[in-house]
Symmetry: none
DNA sequence: TAACAATGTATCCGATTGGATTATTGGTAA
DNA sequence: TTACCAATAATCCAATCGGATACATTGTTA
């Protein structure tokens, strides 16, 4: 089975190299070539049904209309078409924008030729999108440092609880964060000083730390406070 | 150069298979084996310096303490150690939690043996984290449907210094945030324990607090850390 | 030069903390 | 109903902390 491919890149040399590379593989059939986003969308409007691409390889920086805009428009107009970014840019901003625009994959041009065709092909075998390892890692870092908004309305800011602290222990942790000592915790929670202390020590054990400062730095670090 | 690896998995058979697989590769040196998160953290506390792992391969579902909790604690306690998830689970929830907990990579166990060792090895050649293609795609989908909070990136993160702490005192404050005691601070900064203590007390005075916990909560609150 | 701030050192002492251990109670899952 | 666990409580002890106070050395500023 052949995969129909479109190539969108403003440099003719790039289009040719890619074209040849894919053609040699045997499983790819290049049915559309365009020099920029606008050109691509124009050609898509008139294309014959049987040449409608399965996958669009899209460069990002182009005149007239850039790749992100083309993906945004194209993924809405042709929902069944998979848009794969193929570019030299690997900065967070571009990655993020392309993904939000609806990119199905993100490949770096400096990947070896075999790597690109192989990854594209694998995408069809296992159904997942083609993503360069470097891009995958950048995505991970993006997710790590940016908080995701709750997808659902009210499911709002529920605190993480990696360490399975009990309700009481979380309460104790918040007391520690206020800078309270055993005695004060005991008073505020109406329990004995000894009990307060026991809780604190239990929290330490669960967090694998052995001081207030360590517990707090871990708690703040992991967004538990 | 050899990469020191730790393996954390509750099933002995998995540990053995992985152990052999990595050993055969030649570039990996397994220095720590643990049956669950708790076991792992315990062993890390006592491990010899020269056996401190570079990379920890962590299963997710384990008794006592699961992989996510172990990564959350471990990545804070040992910032230089890279935690790589190695599991059979590829659902969004687990992926997301593991990444937020500080995972450096995410590999699926059903990957072929060569694939796992190769990906791990490549991680060292190009510096990026090892991520299974399927996981990368799931991450992309996660980003697509979840809104990211303001990319903040460059802008706002300049450190405030409301309390006019001296350079040294800010340094001391960071030591406190790490959970160090007087003795340890002294050693790290090459000053006497007494001096370390004097600095700490001075910081307290400037912040108008009288305990580590209060100092830290104030510092975190005011964005000084 | 005199004053000053930041840094470094030291000692004394009571208060607090961290750790280990043991035990009772009430709720709940097997 | 037994078994388990969270929450409660207490005791002992060593280690650490917080506070006060005194003094020496720099480097900078008035």
């Amino acid at each position: 089975m052949q995969i129909k491919i479109a190539i969108v890149d403003d440099k003719a040399s790039n289009r040719n190299i890619l074209h040849d590379m894919l053609q040699r593989h045997g499983h790819f059939n290049i049915t559309l070539l365009a020099a920029d986003g606008k050109d691509f969308l124009d050609k898509m409007q008139q294309i014959e049904e049987k040449k409608m691409p399965d996958v669009v390889l899209m460069d990002l920086e182009m005149p007239n209309m850039d790749g992100v805009a083309a993906i945004a428009a194209g993924s809405s107009l042709y929902p069944s078409v998979k848009f794969v970014v193929l570019t030299i840019f690997d900065d967070e901003d571009k990655i993020f924008k392309a993904i939000k625009a609806g990119a199905f994959g993100y490949l770096l041009k400096d990947e070896s030729a075999e790597n690109i065709t192989d990854t594209l092909w694998q995408m069809y075998e296992n159904g997942s999108g083609p993503i360069s390892p470097g891009i995958a890692f950048k995505m991970l870092q993006l997710m790590q440092k940016n908080d995701l908004k709750p997808t659902l309305a009210s499911a709002a800011n529920k605190q993480e609880n990696f360490f399975q602290l009990s309700e009481r222990e979380q309460e104790i942790l918040r007391m520690l964060a206020k800078g309270l000592g055993y005695r004060e915790i005991g008073i505020q929670l109406n329990i004995s000083v000894n009990t307060a202390k026991k809780h604190v020590i239990n929290v330490y054990h669960k967090l694998h730390v052995n001081s207030r400062a360590q517990a707090l730095s871990l708690a703040y670090d992991k967004g538990m406070l």
